[in-house]
Symmetry: C2
Subunit: 313 residues, 2 copies
Amino acid sequence: MNSETLSKFGEKKLIKQLARILKRRHDVVVGCGDDCAVVSLGPTATDELLLTSDAVIENIHFDASVPLELAGRKIIGRVISDIAAMSGQPSWCLIDLVAPPERKVDEIMQIYSGMTKFAEEYNMAIVGGDTARGGVLELHAFCVGTIPRGRAVLRSGAGKGDALFVTGTIGGSRSGKHLNFLPRLREGIFLRDWASSMIDISDGLASDLRHLIEASAVGVEIFMDKIPVSDVLNNLLPSEKIKHAFTDGEDFELLFTVPEKKKNAFLNRWNRMFDLSLSEIGIITETPGKITTKDQNDLFCMPDEGFDHFLTT
Amino acid sequence: MNSETLSKFGEKKLIKQLARILKRRHDVVVGCGDDCAVVSLGPTATDELLLTSDAVIENIHFDASVPLELAGRKIIGRVISDIAAMSGQPSWCLIDLVAPPERKVDEIMQIYSGMTKFAEEYNMAIVGGDTARGGVLELHAFCVGTIPRGRAVLRSGAGKGDALFVTGTIGGSRSGKHLNFLPRLREGIFLRDWASSMIDISDGLASDLRHLIEASAVGVEIFMDKIPVSDVLNNLLPSEKIKHAFTDGEDFELLFTVPEKKKNAFLNRWNRMFDLSLSEIGIITETPGKITTKDQNDLFCMPDEGFDHFLTT
């Protein structure tokens, strides 16, 4: 029995506890605990399915100042980023809308306009969903993607000596990127041939890196001077900049590992394929859960303090 | 431009308007407007996927007096009923949980306990989801089912002369059935070989029958004396009983049509397979959208007045 409140217990511990009571089925390749679930369509099927859901909620993920088209765009971007982080292709999506009855029809149409346009750019179809009334606007997206069998890149594949990379820049997404980010779908699919593990940065680098090393049962040494801090943080003190880069979240960049022996070929190929910047920010080490830096004094920001929906601190 | 509020415009009109702006993809066999979307896995795949989502929200679909295990059971039952109404088999499910931070961990575990137990009875696996904070408890379920290609029973297949059937009894579900109903999954799969059209009764017989005849572009003559009114309504006046049977909703019975020439064989087979009662409540007629009864005075309750999340009357 646990009579603690969610605000004391926190989202991460709750999810771990819930995952333990879910029943497995023979065709569930990956259940709770990765960016998507992976399920098998049978022994002869060439593809597996990726399943993910995500929510965008008024006053949490966007506020009244945000054009509603962008709130729609954001929920679509979030689920596509989850699929990208498994190296898959998003195909179909359902939307559960919750809305206060006093909202205008036009406002809802703006949300759906933002969703359909952005989904179309990634060749994903919105095929239905549900509507209900509630106190604030909520968008719940459920996305089904596909991946050739056995090719999903999981969080759990990092090995000692692998190089740790992150795409783009991180930190400060609240100044705009959290609404207009581009999910790294092409890059994610390309990484199918190169990455040993992958996650997208939604909760924040500190939190999501911890998810990756815990799933892989490895440690990591971080190159603090290589963290690609977003330009929007330029006005801050260095210590504040790096703290934001590690904890702000909603960057929707890809964080992944590449085995050392593939690294040079990977970098050559990446640079020919993409303009998107890439930073090598660390190396995987042996001790499970241990995070180190070359200068141990830099480690100030590594408590697991990404966004948690329930914790009140 | 439409600056009406949702409370004036209503859910049904909103959904029709949203459906119009969704983009189609070549592999979407059935989009918005049936119990589930149907999508193709490719020209050689033997199965198609059924996708559906549904929500159960505190103070709308259940109140504080309801044991939370039953709220969990209800959301699972709802999506399974959607899959059953297409003749499919539910396979995998994601859950988006929204909860106030002051809720206790135990309460959430009760909900998930109710969900996992009921899902297991129908051989469906809960494989993940998302959690977020909000003002009231909400459960959003996203379910993926499978169906042999081309075999989904749609709302749109009813033809003139088909017999209209409903399973079990209807009306008064608020007295308990809305929480402990059994989705008609075995029956739904059996009906794959017999039904020309099908829907599950969630909004209410009046509303869902209208969905079926509109999708099929047919009319219907109803046998008012054959409506299987639930025993829990026995204390009401006859006119009140029939009104509740048509409009209460959340019966989660199957409403379907069988071509006249198959009817006798179907009834023989049904009676050998199932103990569940079956009522022949009407016959499909030619004029699109027209609902008649033998005694026209009985038609009091046929305005489309099932449950609407947004309308305030």
